[in-house]
């Protein structure tokens, strides 16, 4: 894990605004006071969230905390009911996945991301094929795919012309991530990239996640696994029952504190207070 240069500042309660370690640092992606309901179910309450270029921001929370909904709002799959959506400091409207992609936001889903019957190059360019007039420009695509994989220091695939069905889980995740990076994206959101992977493959994917951030991308990592989160994250945002419990620097909190934030919404002076939504955790002292 790379060191964050300033560790003096950082703990920002209840996710109001950016936690920025310096006044000049501006989040590339910022949500302020976002609400989202599905019919009578209020899923996101005044959620604020920011992601910074060159950093890995872990998004944690228990099942049903609203992680997936938040990501889908960012990705334009669900429109937000109210609140602000800022990209590079400017308010934007994101109504469809295409809007998000146009901004440079790519989401790597846990599953359903790749076509098994197509090879790596075909998958990476799916829906955005390079063409020479009417004909597919296979050579350019193959070269660009090879360069992207090389840029990410991926050396685990034997041939980029092998079908995705022949790849291991970690390799598939790698291809899915490389696909997201291919388009000069600025924000990459990874939904549980290590959920189904073994130990070695997890390490391999986490290494790749770290490398993405080191290349200057803003990476949002959704994970249940605290070890993974602490291994690569610069910041941790904890959702609790649809509210942002806290967005903190990873170096400022302990493993146990994050677990408390996830399970109870608060940990010591961190997290939600009674006034802030009334989601009182039963473990609160």
């Amino acid at each position: 894990m790379s060191e964050t240069t300033s560790t003096d500042l950082g703990v920002t309660p209840a996710g109001r605004g950016a936690p920025g370690s310096g006044p000049s640092e501006q989040p590339i992606l910022e949500l302020r006071g976002v609400n989202k309901s599905f019919g009578p179910v209020h899923v996101l309450h005044d959620v604020s969230f920011s992601a910074y270029a060159g950093e890995v921001t872990a998004l944690v929370g228990d099942n049903g905390a609203g992680k997936s909904t938040l990501v889908k709002c960012i990705g334009g799959i669900h429109p937000i009911d109210s609140g602000e959506y800022l990209f590079e400091g400017k308010p934007v409207n994101v109504h469809s996945p295409r809007d998000a992609a146009a901004l440079g936001i790519e989401i790597v889903y846990q599953d359903l991301a790749l076509c098994d019957n197509l090879d790596i190059v075909q998958n990476m360019f799916l829906g955005r094929e390079r063409k020479n007039g009417l004909v597919l420009d296979e050579d350019t695509m193959e070269r660009m795919a090879a360069e992207t994989l090389k840029g990410l220091s991926v050396r685990t695939v034997k041939s980029i012309r092998q079908p995705v069905s022949s790849l291991s889980g970690g390799q598939r995740q790698t291809v899915a991530i490389a696909k997201a990076v291919l388009w000069n994206s600025k924000v990459v959101i990874l939904d549980e990239p290590t959920a189904a992977l073994g130990v070695a493959q997890t390490a391999q994917v986490l290494e790749l996640v770290r490398r993405l951030a080191d290349q200057g991308l803003a990476v949002v990592l959704i994970s249940h696994n605290m070890n993974d989160v602490f291994a690569v994250s610069d910041r941790i945002a904890a959702l609790y029952l649809g509210r942002m419990a806290a967005q903190v620097k990873a170096s400022d909190v302990t493993h146990a504190q994050v677990v408390e934030l996830i399970t109870a919404g608060r940990s010591g002076d961190l997290g939600l207070t009674n006034g802030n939504g009334g989601a009182e955790g039963k473990e609160a002292p």
Partner: protein
């Protein structure tokens, strides 16, 4: 686990012939058999029939095989597109009947020239495909049900078009030529030369371009092998078809490649190009492989589905025209009885998966050849239609079984 570093992957490296062969064998063992079962089946069937009935391997019978299999092969080419999506079109047989009836009615009842009639038949096919595709993609009715309903309805439409079961005979020379006339031998050899040279040129240019771009290309020996195989097979076929096959050559000479053969080759090249070299074709495979991933990649899945049904029904129209030409007439049974099942069988026997995402247009041609050989050979052996149906059904089941088992095997070996 696969954290093994593969240092041999320097980009300019060219795989040798040996590696290519080994890779192919590995794929076959892993369940990725492609056209192998169809080719082996074809060889076995031809050998058996030739031993049992020497008449099988006479030039006249071989020429018959092409015209007999043409309709089924053309319809099967269209079906490949629908099967690639993991859907099915049970109405393709009667759709070809409807289009043939439209052709016949336009020609005879309205007395319009052949090109108007062909255009009307093709347009009818497109409209049918548009209707089926819209019902499947937009309304969301399973394709099995939609096309089963269409299967029944089109049967009625054919009856209505030919006025309750009469037989409309076709006398237009151009239409009749498709399945009944032959190319002059010189033209046959010219097309052969152009075809083989074109294939060789495409292969060589691609290899050259890939080397120029620093990508691994097929070795020269492999390209030479492919071109050689094509030249031998096509050359033997043209030679045999150019032999005199009339019983009495003095009265009427009968030799040359049937007109329908270049038509099939042309359609094969066209649709192979669409599937392999265009974004549209790539998207068809993607939708068949994982529709949700395709949707998330920004592909308009509904539009792809509708387009595939349109292609399928339009190819059925072409098949209907070929059938009308061969029979020199259209009756209520054109495109009926076994045509649809033979066509589905052809596609599946050739190696197109019923589960979607896997298949090529050449599968339809190879499978169509297998079906035509079975049908023709059993006929020569003097078996009744009943036995032919049973055997063809068994072969279809066998092909579908091979498909399912190879899928399982591929899953086990991690190839799928």
């Amino acid at each position: 686990m696969s954290t093994t570093v593969a240092p041999e992957r320097t980009t300019t490296q060219t795989p040798t012939l040996g590696q290519g062969v080994r890779g192919y064998l590995e794929r076959v063992r892993g369940g990725e058999m492609g056209a192998l079962p169809a080719v082996l089946g074809l060889i076995v069937l031809c050998t058996v029939f030739t031993i049992l009935r020497p008449a099988f391997l006479t030039p006249i019978n071989i020429a018959n095989l092409f015209t007999q299999g043409a309709q089924i092969t053309v319809i099967a080419m269209g079906l490949v597109f629908v099967l690639l999506l993991g859907e099915i079109d049970l109405s393709a047989g009667f759709a070809s009947g409807v289009c043939a009836a439209v052709l016949a009615v336009t020609l005879t009842v309205h007395g319009l020239p052949w090109y108007v009639a062909v255009a009307a038949a093709l347009a009818t096919g497109m409209v049918i495909g548009l209707l089926l595709g819209t019902l499947v993609a937009k309304v969301g009715i399973p394709s099995f049900v939609v096309t089963l309903a269409a299967f029944l309805a089109f049967q009625g439409v054919v009856l209505l078009l030919v006025r309750g079961g009469t037989n409309i005979s076709i006398r237009d020379e151009v239409i009749l030529a498709i399945a009944n006339r032959n190319l002059p031998p010189a033209v046959g050899w010219t097309l052969f030369a152009v075809g083989v040279a074109g294939f060789a040129a495409v292969q060589l240019l691609r290899a050259r371009r890939r080397v120029a771009h620093g990508l691994p290309a097929d070795p020269m020996s492999l390209i030479a092998f492919r071109v050689g195989v094509l030249a031998v097979i096509a050359g033997v076929a043209v030679y045999v078809l150019n032999l005199e096959r009339s019983r009495n050559a003095l009265i009427v000479s009968l030799k040359g490649v049937p007109v329908v053969v270049p038509l099939i080759v042309l359609l094969l090249i066209l649709w192979t190009f669409v599937l392999r070299r265009t974004a549209f074709g790539r998207h068809i495979y993607a939708v068949g492989g994982n529709a949700e991933a395709a949707r998330r990649a920004g592909i308009n899945v509904d539009r792809i589905k509708i387009a595939c049904f349109v292609i399928c029904s339009t190819m059925a129209a072409v098949g209907g025209i070929v059938a009308a030409s061969r029979g020199a007439s259209v009756d209520p049974n054109t495109g009926g009885s076994n045509v649809l099942l033979y066509a589905v069988g052809a596609a599946v026997i050739g190696g197109t998966s019923l589960f979607g995402g896997k298949g090529r247009v050449i599968d339809a041609v190879l499978g169509g050849a297998v079906i035509a050989v079975i049908d023709n050979g059993m006929g020569l052996m003097g078996y009744s239609a009943g036995v032919k149906f049973v055997v063809t059904g068994a072969v279809l089941l066998l092909a579908a079984g091979v498909d399912a088992i190879s899928r399982k095997r591929a899953a086990a070996s991690g190839l799928r």
